[in-house]
């Protein structure tokens, strides 16, 4: 099995900027993410949450500045995984989606069936293993996407608004899974627009506004008393523009 040596953590952004045709999406972000409880990105729409997650995953490179994973600049996403806001199901069965992820992660053929069963069991989709993945409900697809990400045996897992547009029951299932994942020692970095969810899951909060980190700190402290004006206004439900 091909495994890049070393760890992907800590992930370090050094004055990372990202702009597209003149409009600035990320504006000089410096950040170190190490092991620990979940980091939750919050902030208004367009504040750069998705772009930051994609950059941390290594899907886009900063226009200026640098990203390193465990000190390495060009670290292929071997032990990182991401669940996109709208995950795309491969046009295959539920279990074939997982087999694909396992094989792309270099898991030996003989070990795959057992891992598929474990992952399906974990996300509660064992009964739907043979169904076409694209026929699943939104919540089920999100759980399959999570299982597919976990198939990579990641050190760090990024989730982009994993419960957006899910009903409360499906949201709870996803949040429970995220908690389980975090308890297993996988670093979770996720974005959400749901402050309740941020409260329930976050170990630390990262508040983004206009492509900058305006506040970062332990979740409890942030929700008790934000240090910045933006933080206070965002928590109070005011519109940050």
């Amino acid at each position: 099995m091909m495994r890049a040596p070393g760890s992907d953590l800590p992930i370090e952004l050094a004055d990372a900027r990202y702009h597209v045709r003149g409009s600035v999406i990320l504006d000089g972000i410096s950040l170190v993410l190490g092991e620990g409880p979940p980091t939750v990105l919050i902030g208004p729409n367009g504040s750069g949450k998705t772009t930051l997650l994609r950059m941390l995953m290594g899907l886009i490179a900063p226009t200026d500045g640098a990203v390193t994973w465990g000190g390495r600049r060009n670290a292929p996403p071997v032990r990182r995984a991401i669940v996109f806001q709208r995950p795309v199901m491969l046009r295959r069965s539920v279990s074939a989606n997982l087999v694909y992820a396992l094989s792309s992660a270099g898991v030996a053929r003989a070990a795959r069936p057992r891992r598929v069963a474990e992952l399906l069991e974990l996300v509660g989709l064992l009964a739907l293993a043979a169904r076409p993945a694209r026929g699943l409900s939104g919540g089920e697809q999100q759980r399959l996407a999570l299982a597919r990400a976990l198939a990579r045996d990641p050190q760090v897992l990024f989730l982009d608004e994993p419960t957006a547009s899910l009903d409360p029951a499906a949201t709870k299932a996803i949040e429970d899974l995220i908690r389980t994942v975090a308890e297993r020692g996988i670093k979770v970095v996720m974005s959400t627009h749901d402050l309740g969810e941020a409260r329930r899951l976050a170990g630390e909060i990262l508040l983004l506004h206009r492509g900058r980190i305006v506040e970062r700190g332990p979740a409890e402290a942030f929700f008790a008393a934000p240090r910045t004006d933006e933080g206070r206004r965002f928590l109070a439900g005011e519109l940050l523009i």
């Binding site: 899907l59 491969l90 046009r91 295959r92 694909y100 792309s104 992660a105 990579r152």
Partner: protein, 230 residues
């Protein structure tokens, strides 16, 4: 039970000559589609997934080549395969192989152009997930071709439709030799020019029935596959 309609007689008697013509037509067209697909599916996917100078021109060329006039292709293949042509030594002119080559040339651009479009659309959908899964380029092509297989079947059928309906190229490179290179379409052309319109019409109906059958089989396979794999 003889009737007044010659082709019905031929069908009812399972006339060996008619069966041979049908068999040859199917074999030539299916072989042409298979050869063209082996080349055009990867080529279409490659054009869809890569950026290179002249890519736009390549796409325009592929789309244009979909409308290649069969007689022009027939003439070109004729010149290549004729005794004095560059490939004359193989002695392929006026053989079924020559007909397969001509039809493959006609069909390949159709399959490549439709594959390019299909794969490009699917790639837009898949690119983030495959990048996140760190899938290598060759594997990406295989994934996209496999996951687009039901849509690509339509591209293959379009190619088969072109091949089975085509007469201009096969009549030039095949020569419409009875018992050797006579296909449904060349037989229809011959009977029409001989003035045997009932037989020509009958053969036309048989040809259409066969094309319907092939498409029905393909559609059935697609539906069954979709139920299993989505």
């Amino acid at each position: 039970m003889p009737t007044d309609i010659p082709v019905v007689d031929l069908v009812l008697r399972a006339d060996p000559e008619l069966l041979a013509i049908v068999r040859l037509s199917l074999a030539v067209s299916l072989a042409a589609v298979a050869c063209a697909a082996a080349l055009a599916l990867p080529l279409g996917a490659l054009v869809a997934l890569t950026r290179f100078p002249g890519r736009d021109a390549t796409i325009v060329a592929l789309n244009t080549l979909m409308g290649l006039p069969p007689v022009v292709v027939g003439l070109a293949i004729y010149l290549l395969l004729s005794r004095s042509g560059p490939l004359g030594d193989f002695g392929l002119l006026f053989t079924p192989q020559a007909m397969v080559i001509a039809q493959a040339v006609l069909v390949a651009p159709i399959i490549a152009a439709l594959t390019r479009q299909t794969i490009e659309d699917l790639w837009l959908e898949y690119c983030d997930e495959l990048a996140a899964m760190h899938v290598a380029p060759v594997q990406r092509v295989r994934t996209l071709l496999w996951d687009a297989r039901f849509s690509l079947l339509t591209a293959l059928l379009a190619g088969f439709g072109r091949a089975s309906a085509e007469v201009g190229a096969v009549i030039i490179v095949g020569g419409n030799i009875e018992g050797h290179t006579r296909t449904m379409t060349t037989a229809i052309a011959l009977e029409t020019s001989k003035g045997d319109l009932p037989l020509a019409i009958g053969l036309g109906l048989v040809l259409m029935a066969i094309v319907v059958l092939v498409n029905a089989l393909a559609w059935g396979a697609r539906r069954a596959g979709e139920r299993l794999a989505g």
